[in-house]
Amino acid sequence: MASVLLIEDDPSVRRGLQLALSRHGHDARTAGSGEDGLREFRTHPPDLVVLDLMLPGMDGFAVCRRLREAGEVPVIMLTARGDDADVVGGLEAGADDYVVKPVQPAVLDARIRAVLRRGTSAPDGVRVYRDLRIDTAALTVTLAGEPVALTPTELRLLLTLSRSPGRVLSRQQLLEEVWEHGYLGDSRLVDNGVQRLRAKVEENPAAPEYVQTVRGFGYRFGPV
């Protein structure tokens, strides 16, 4: 179904997850190091990368940054539970989501599907707000005529917020709609996604026009 690149250094974990992902219908390729992973990524571009952060040599954060530079491929990172530094660092490096090791394949599969779904939407025409133009059918965004390259997560976040400009959406709501996380989802995903979105669509990300913070409640689009 989806082609997944799994970068994980431990051979048993790598093989185990590959077996499990295959059973969930994914075409899982694997790499045992960051360098191999990037090479594999270039030769066979996957739909999505599952990335272990603890890698020998080039670490997961560096790999994640390289992947971000190369394009908009979604990245799900494998972290140790409760290792907040990993989560924060991984999100800052551009990861879209994370799962905690040891992960149940069913959970990882659900995340993979959720991330890939973000690249699709029910089209309802073109939304234009000042310089920002969002084509919900072609799933393209332009800012003052220039195309803006958004990852599926950033795109889904923008689509969700801009669906009803001026309406405040809580982190909880955004987590459920964009990330498809349950009640105990990590709201740092939202804050990090908003930051990355702002960096791409706002003229001045420190004084955002489109994606505004509503203190104590969440985020809203506009008013523009």
């Binding site: 185990g16 077996l19 009640y183």
Partner: protein, 478 residues
């Protein structure tokens, strides 16, 4: 510097009083003895002098007297004695002079019956007098002495002597009075020199008791107190050494637990991944193999939980557990915890519709899930979760209708790996659930307590500050 109350001050006071008493009593005794000796010497001297003078005069005039004497003879004898004097012969007395009424009877009797000079001190009209009495004895040419029946009395004023004695007494008292403040000062100095090492020792002992195991007192000199100080220092030293060894061992044990669980995570990640593959393939296996596969799957999940709990406990031990507080609705969190685990129908929730607070949602989810899970497993239904709050405290109560916690268990339910009875060993829990729940409560600045309801059944009460705060960020540990 503060002097401790009670005993310590008492010791100083006792030392002071004892020292002053001894010093003043000693000085007073010495002064008093001196005064008494001097007084006796003075009195004896004046007595001897008076007796000699009067005896001499009487002896000088005696041969010239006519016996038995007439009034003239008595008067002449009285004049010869001089001063205040009285001469008595049978019922006759010399004219003028001393009034016979002042003479005590015992003096008269002693003079009349004896043949030597008798003295006695009397006080008349507030003035001390020395009375001297002597019988007049005639000595025949052959040496035979016969009493003449004449008694001679004279009075000597002792006022001067008394003044001297008074002066001596006053000086003795003055000496004692001067010694008193001196004694107090000396006593204070002595008390201080004795008590300072005692106080130092007390301060050191107090610091040791407060956990400052590096506290020591410098020994002064080589007396018993210095010995005691050295002993206390040695004791503190060995306590410190054993404590350090124990702490090191404890830290090692905890690090070991953390390392072990960390190392277990990688193989568990593989097992978790392949168990699902195995799970999907059990239909093709024969009955025994299927049962074996199912056991392996179930035990892998248990192992994962155990390792995750161990790692969580290790994070609390290492102080690396982080609180992530958010604005949240306590009622919604509780309901969501129950819903996510399929417990909604088995648990009654008594809570306001919304209860805004600030806490770490995921940690509270873990606590509530643990408490409700325990209640459903070990207690009897209905299991009830009560949520309420005051302005600054959030309270979540989980109770059941089971047999409750035995008294000897209540104190241990939060112990790691504590199992109330053997039957619970295989209940599926890691044995760390309640320990972690309480650590989570404390991380919020709250607490978790265990007890029993009035109507029987266990009741766990979680209290949290309504607005939990994240601790000030520390340097990130690696």
């Amino acid at each position: 510097m503060t002097d401790g109350p009670g005993r310590f001050r008492g010791l100083r006071a006792r030392l002071l009083v004892a020292f002053v008493l001894v010093t003043v009593l000693g000085a007073a005794a010495a002064a008093w003895t001196g005064a008494v000796l001097a007084r006796n010497a003075l009195l004896e001297e004046s007595r001897r002098q008076a007796a000699t003078t009067i005896g001499g005069r009487v002896t000088a005039v005696a041969p010239t007297l006519d016996l038995p004497p007439d009034q003239v003879t008595l008067d002449r004898l009285r004049d010869a004695v001089g001063g205040r004097a009285l001469v008595v012969h049978e019922n006759r007395t010399s004219a003028r002079g001393l009034d016979a009424g002042v003479l005590p009877d015992e003096l008269r009797a002693a003079v009349r019956g004896g043949d030597r000079i008798v003295t006695q001190r009397v006080v008349a009209d507030g003035t001390p007098w020395l009375l001297v009495g002597t019988p007049l004895v005639t000595t025949a040419p052959d040496g035979a002495r016969t009493p003449s029946g004449i008694e001679v009395y004279a009075a000597r004023d002792l006022a001067d002597v008394q003044r001297q004695i008074d002066g001596l007494t006053t000086r003795a008292l003055a000496t004692a009075a001067i010694v008193l403040p001196l004694a107090i000062v000396l006593a204070l100095l002595a008390a201080r020199s004795v008590l300072r090492p005692v106080r130092d020792l007390r301060d050191t002992a107090r610091r040791l008791a407060d956990g400052d195991l590096g506290a020591r007192s410098p020994p002064r000199g080589s007396d018993e107190l210095a010995d005691l100080t050295l002993t206390v220092n040695r004791m503190a030293g060995s306590v410190q050494t054993s404590m350090e060894a124990m702490r090191r061992m404890e830290a090692d044990a905890r690090r070991f637990a953390a390392d072990v669980s960390h190392e277990l995570r990688t193989p568990l990640a593989t097992l978790t991944a392949v168990m699902e593959v195995l799970d999907g393939a059990t239909d093709d296996l024969d009955r025994d193999a299927r049962e074996a596969a199912e056991l392996a799957i179930a035990e892998t999940h248990r192992l994962v939980r155990l390792v995750e709990d161990l790692m969580e406990v290790s994070r609390f031990d290492a102080g690396t557990a982080r609180l992530r507080v958010e604005d949240a609705d306590a009622t919604a969190v509780v309901r969501e915890t129950l819903r996510a685990r399929g417990w909604t129908d088995q648990v009654r929730v008594d809570a306001p519709e919304h209860l805004p607070a600030r806490f770490d949602r995921r940690r509270i989810d873990v606590v509530v899930a643990n408490l409700v899970g325990n209640a459903l497993r070990h207690g009897r239904q209905p299991v009830r979760v009560g949520v309420c709050a005051s302005a600054d405290t959030l309270r979540i109560e989980v109770s059941d209708r089971g047999p409750g916690l035995p008294d000897d268990v209540i104190g241990h339910v939060f112990d790691r790996f504590y199992k109330a009875d053997a039957a619970r060993v295989r209940s599926g829990g890691s044995g760390l659930g309640l320990a972690i729940a309480r650590e989570n409560a404390r991380l919020h600045g709250g607490d978790l307590t265990a007890g029993n309801d009035d109507g029987g059944g266990a009741r766990f009460v979680l209290t949290l500050p309504r607005q939990a705060r994240e601790p000030a960020p520390r340097e990130e540990e690696t």
